[in-house]
């Protein structure tokens, strides 16, 4: 009986530790997605606006925005942001070009241009945007207290 109670207590304690660790996180990460919509102005000219979509269509251009912010008091180092691409989205580049990518589900990483894809007929071709499965940014400088920024990448609904 005592043993069972102890186990239960330990589980509760562990859960509490988990919660407090979460609450103490000095970094916040948020994800947003926008869709590019062509709109026609009153004078007939066309422009592209970003909308917050609930529904999209194949071929729609999406803009993903990942915001980060150090809300703590300590400096965070080795800050790395990873974004697995939703399977229905084809990668279409980042705004800064500083990313490394994976085309195999996150097992291997590198610059897209150095990667190769084996095709069904056995031939090998250079990897393309559509092959990307994960995007990663290694931010080299330490993230001091209060520092914030955003990472932007584009995708197309397959």
């Amino acid at each position: 009986v005592i043993k069972r109670h102890f186990t239960k207590f330990a589980a509760v304690a562990l859960a509490l530790i988990g919660v407090s660790a979460q609450a103490a996180t000095p970094l916040q990460l948020s994800s947003d997605v926008f869709v590019e919509k062509q709109v026609t102005r009153k004078d007939g000219s066309r422009t592209v606006v970003l909308e917050k979509p609930n529904l999209v269509l194949p071929g729609d251009n999406l803009v993903f925005v990942v915001k980060y912010r150090n809300t703590g008091t300590a400096t965070a180092s080795n800050f790395v942001v990873t974004n697995p691409l939703p399977s229905a989205v084809a990668f279409n580049g980042t705004s800064d070009g500083l990313e490394i990518v994976s085309i195999d589900g996150g097992a291997n990483w590198g610059i897209l241009g150095a990667m190769r894809v084996k095709q069904a007929d056995g031939t090998v071709r250079a990897a393309e945007h559509r092959d990307v499965t994960h995007i990663k940014w290694n931010l080299n400088q330490p993230l001091t207290a209060g520092a914030e920024g955003k990472l932007i990448f584009r995708g197309v609904v397959k």
């Binding site: 990873t82 195999d104 894809v117």
Partner: protein, 339 residues
């Protein structure tokens, strides 16, 4: 789904590259296997969920955090194509029934969709209007019209339901008016329209999409049609009769005892084949048929009804020339004596 080649294994394509630099670059590249995708795009109703993850080091160790999840749903695109799979004009003949013209309807949208079919045979720019008998769905999927096996289409009752990228073969069955002549062409048209809706590209039907999203008309307008042509191949016959006279005195006067040689030339023109051509000619009054003088294509025929194709029954000659292709002639001759 993805496999990796050993990073240090030399890729096939690098075998003939002599530059050491290129070799190193390729050797360290990871290899992934390409995966096929739907031509129509992501399936309607698919959720696109995005979560970013970050890791960083703190004095108490590495920490991993996740962002909020953003979810967007993929709408249904309504698109369709129709093509004829007939290799060219379908041959028909005056009064022919059961002309079969074949079409392929393909759902090029990204959701399951039913399509309403309409056959139209009153199309401008052709020589005649075939009469629409029925539209038949290739139920057994063999691409060939099987009368009584494939299901007759009834609009609104068995509209074909197609998955994205899926096709259905549809047969349009028509008949040809008796009044057509060789070389006439007639058009049959098959129209397919998405049941959910059609119209200008971009038109949206709220909540009508598969998976709970909207249904949006794609670039095809969610309707498509195609033409297939019937071409009449009809043979026609011209029969020309001529006579030459040889009198007993070496001249060509029609006197008693003179011999008249009649020549009947049947010329088949147009296209196709004229079947069961029979040439008959009554013997005129005041002349007597000369026994054993009947010929067909320069071959002598007996007068009796027997194995050969010709006979004389006392009042007329008759030659069964059989099936004669267009562009050919058949010549029958016989002799008579003026009484």
């Amino acid at each position: 789904m993805m496999t990796n080649q050993n990073a240090f294994q030399r890729p096939e394509s690098a075998r003939f590259i002599r530059s050491g630099l290129s070799y190193v670059a390729l050797a360290f590249a990871s290899l992934a296997v390409a995966t096929p995708a739907f031509a129509a795009g992501t399936l309607a109703g698919t959720d696109i969920d995005n979560v970013a993850e970050a890791t960083y080091d703190t004095p108490s160790g590495p920490v991993t955090i996740q962002s909020n999840m953003v979810r967007i749903k993929v709408d249904e695109l309504l698109d369709v194509t129709v093509v004829t799979t007939d290799p060219g004009d379908i041959t028909t003949a005056p009064g022919a029934t059961g002309n079969v013209q074949t079409f392929r309807v393909t759902n090029t949208g990204n959701g399951e969709e039913a399509f309403r079919l309409t056959g139209n045979t009153v199309v401008g720019g052709d020589d005649f209007d075939p009469a629409l008998t029925q539209i038949v769905l290739d139920t057994n999927g063999n691409g060939i019209y099987d009368a009584g096996v494939d299901t007759v289409y009834v609009a609104g009752s068995n509209d074909p339901v197609l998955q994205p990228d899926q096709s259905r073969i549809v047969f349009v069955i028509t008949s040809t008016p008796v009044t057509v002549i060789n070389g006439n062409r007639g058009t049959s048209n098959l129209l397919a329209v998405a049941v959910t809706g059609s119209g200008a590209p971009g038109t949206s039907f709220a909540g009508a999409g598969q998976g709970g999203g909207n249904a949006v008309v794609g670039t095809t307008g969610a309707d498509a049609d195609a033409n297939s042509f019937l071409a009449v191949q009809a043979a026609s016959l011209a029969l020309v009769k001529s006579a030459t006279i040889v009198d007993p005195f070496g001249g060509n006067r029609p006197v008693p005892g003179a011999i008249i040689t009649y020549s009947l030339v049947a010329t088949i023109s147009g296209a196709g084949t004229l079947n069961n051509l029979v040439i008959t000619d009554p013997i005129p009054a005041n002349v007597t048929y000369q026994t054993g003088s009947l010929t067909h294509e320069a071959a002598t025929l007996t007068d009796a009804v027997d194995a050969d194709v010709g006979n004389f029954n006392g009042t007329r000659i008759s030659v069964a020339a059989g099936n004669v292709p267009a562009g050919q002639t058949r010549t029958v001759t016989f002799r008579t004596i003026i009484q």
